[in-house]
């Protein structure tokens, strides 16, 4: 039984069957990649996991509890953090403030009316945020306005924000999309380091085969809304069905 169990999930948008009958089990503390050509339903599946969409059929459970019908913030409080395709950070706030907000969410829950004490008096939060910035090698950028950083740094910050909540499952939606090669490799190294050093499960949706084969322990191939095959990276590489669905991309990337 995996930490994340997706059973018979289907989702239809009007006439389009985005997800057919998806079954997926993500083992605890593994790195699991979901790949597939454009329009395979990867993002729809991810949105069903985090509460943005509610599937028409089937069930999604995290650590034995159903996530269906819960709001995104409730699912996050259960221990699932999400990294977006384009980095979603608080652009107007400083890097340190960006890092403090998830720390507050972790300590105080979904809502806390603390309008009188000053932020600088919250020593435990500050310490935690500073520590996390050091882990991410961003301590020198703490007073920068977040939106002024490079895309790679924004991604790094976003991942750091997610990690500061000590989630049990980290969901990444094409984390290297639109990145330069150097930034992509940095992100791969960062994610490798995270999965080695922490008790964390990582589920990653990715287009870039280089990223997938560098990171994943298990790979699920999605095509036209249904899982084609699930196996280890080595077996996936040579799988005839995958080659058929993915022809061209595998040859150039692998």
């Amino acid at each position: 039984m995996g930490i994340l169990e997706v059973k018979n999930v289907g989702k239809r948008f009007g006439g389009l069957q985005a997800l057919g009958d998806v079954n997926l089990s993500v083992a605890e503390n593994s790195v699991h990649a979901i790949i597939g050509p454009n329009g395979a339903g990867k993002s729809t599946l991810l949105n069903c996991l985090v509460g943005k969409l509610i599937p028409d059929t089937g069930s999604v459970s995290f650590d034995g509890q159903s996530v269906l019908g819960r709001k995104p913030y409730e699912i996050n409080q259960m221990g699932i953090s999400r990294v977006f395709q384009t980095p979603e950070i608080f652009g107007d706030l400083s890097v340190l403030e960006n890092m403090m907000i998830p720390c507050f969410a972790k300590r105080d829950g979904a809502f806390e009316l603390n309008g009188i004490s000053s932020v600088s008096s919250q020593k435990d939060i500050l310490e935690r945020a500073e520590h996390m910035l050091e882990d991410m090698n961003m301590a020198d950028k703490r007073h920068m306005t977040a939106s002024s950083m490079s895309r790679g740094d924004k991604r790094r910050l976003e991942i750091g924000m997610c990690l500061s909540q000590e989630p049990r499952l980290l969901l990444l939606d094409e984390p290297t999309a639109g990145m330069a090669r150097a930034d992509t490799n940095n992100t791969i190294d960062l994610l490798k380091q995270i999965s080695e050093e922490r008790d964390i499960t990582i589920a990653i949706i990715e287009h870039d085969m280089h990223v997938v084969f560098s990171l994943a322990e298990r790979i699920t191939v999605l095509a036209q809304g249904t899982p084609l095959v699930e196996d280890t990276p080595d077996n996936i590489k040579g799988h005839p069905k995958v080659r058929e669905a993915y022809l061209g991309e595998t040859q150039t990337a692998a």
Binding site: P72, Y73, S81, F90, F104, N114, S117, V119, M161
Partner: protein, 399 residues
């Protein structure tokens, strides 16, 4: 000091000093001189300056921090005013219960309006708040006449019950007071040609404004204030970070509604009458102008904006043609007429034109409002140091 950083304490002290010495600062010209009409140091105007300052400080907590643009805050000001005047009719002419009830009633009303309006964001939120305010205004004028006095409005009458006050002696009229100190009490100090007026009502309003300003600094610097800025910056990230943005925005809405109620209560304390026009949509628009003109999202901006607009409203609108003729009397006849014709549309009833042009200039050239203008000027003098200030990200106004 007071749990504030050195910079914020300095700001609070500056505002306090300005408020205390306002009767001098606003009366720079001697009585009877040609410039005397620019003097703003009379009680009625000074009271309005600080009361609308409170209104704008509260509005800024919602708009400046969360970015939610309410177009109906005058409704809370109006509801607060009606609550206060009923306190004066039923209970006592002492202003304390009146002001307290105005805050409570405005808070409850804003809880209802906010709970419904915050289901939407952006332009739809603005329209919903506008709809609520206009409904309140129409109701106050029509079906709610028994409570609001309709077109005539409300004022304390001699034969109101006022169960806490003793009976009035014959010929005595009910006057707002603070434990016997009447709001209208003034002390005039004559120095040479200058007359400075120290008014009890003004100083009470100024103390309340300083408290309101202090509280807003605390909110800005608190974790709650940081969450509100996070709502403005990226609500999606906030929700995916395990925080529920709804109660945060609702709390900000209610707090700013209570500030508006406080301002409404104080208006009644200073001038004991209420009419429904106080809730008209232009009044809601005015507080938006004040906040943006001064600098939304900055601490001092809304106070400056409120002061600026109320000053213009009262001073520029009082300049008339004969005053213009006095000013331009030194010119040859043809030129005098020419200048009077040019300037005339901008004064008197045309003061809105002046205000509108200034608002456009500020929005186009200083999107951060008067505060940004001040920072730019300070930056010219201090050179490099200004860029350090901007980097801390807190005093920098958001667009």
């Amino acid at each position: 000091m007071f749990g504030l950083t050195k910079k914020d304490t300095t700001l609070l002290i500056i505002v306090a000093v300005l408020a205390i010495f306002a009767p001098f600062i606003l009366n720079p010209f001697p009585e009877g001189s040609a410039m005397a009409q620019f003097n703003a140091g009379y009680p009625d105007l000074m009271q309005r300056l600080v009361i609308f300052g409170i209104f704008a400080i509260g509005f800024n907590i919602l708009f400046g921090l969360t970015g939610y643009l309410s177009f109906g805050h005058a409704a809370f000001l109006g509801v607060g005013s009606y609550a206060a005047i009923w306190m004066m009719k039923l209970l006592t002419m002492n202003v304390i219960p009146a002001i307290m009830i105005s805050v409570i009633v405005a808070g409850l009303f804003s809880l209802l309006v906010g709970w419904i309006s915050l289901r939407r964001s952006g332009i739809y939120f603005s329209i919903l708040t506008l709809a609520f305010a206009q409904m309140s205004y129409s109701l106050a004028y029509s079906v709610l006449t028994p409570i609001t006095g309709g077109e005539t409005g409300l004022q304390p009458k001699v034969d109101d019950p006022r169960i806490l006050d003793g009976a009035l002696q014959s010929g005595q009229t009910p006057r707002a007071n603070l434990f016997g100190l009447e709001m209208g009490t003034s002390y005039e100090m004559v120095v040479g040609n200058w007359v400075f007026t120290f008014n009890a009502g003004y100083y009470i309003a100024a103390i309340v404004m300083l408290l309101a300003f202090y509280l807003s600094i605390r909110i800005f610097r608190s974790p709650f204030g940081m969450m509100l800025r996070a709502v403005k910056s990226n609500q999606q990230r906030l929700n995916y970070t395990g925080l529920n943005s709804k109660p945060y925005t609702l709390a900000a809405f209610v707090i700013s509604g209570m500030y508006a109620g406080l301002a409404g209560g104080l208006l009644v304390a200073m001038d004991t009458q209420v009419g429904a026009e106080r809730m008209f949509w232009t009044a809601s628009g005015e507080v938006v102008l004040m906040t943006i003109l001064g600098g939304a999202g900055t601490l001092i901006g809304p106070v400056l904006g409120a002061g600026f607009i109320k000053y213009m409203e009262n001073i520029v609108s009082k300049i008339n043609k004969s005053i213009l003729e006095q000013w331009f009397a030194f010119m040859p006849d043809g030129m005098e007429d020419f200048f009077i014709t040019i300037v005339y549309p901008f004064i008197g009833k045309g003061w809105h034109l002046t205000l509108g042009l200034m608002f456009m200039m500020v929005v186009i050239f200083l999107p951060g409002g008067l505060v940004q203008g001040g920072q730019k000027i300070a930056g010219l003098f201090r050179g490099k140091k200004a860029s350090d200030d901007a980097a801390d990200g807190k005093t920098t106004p958001a667009e």
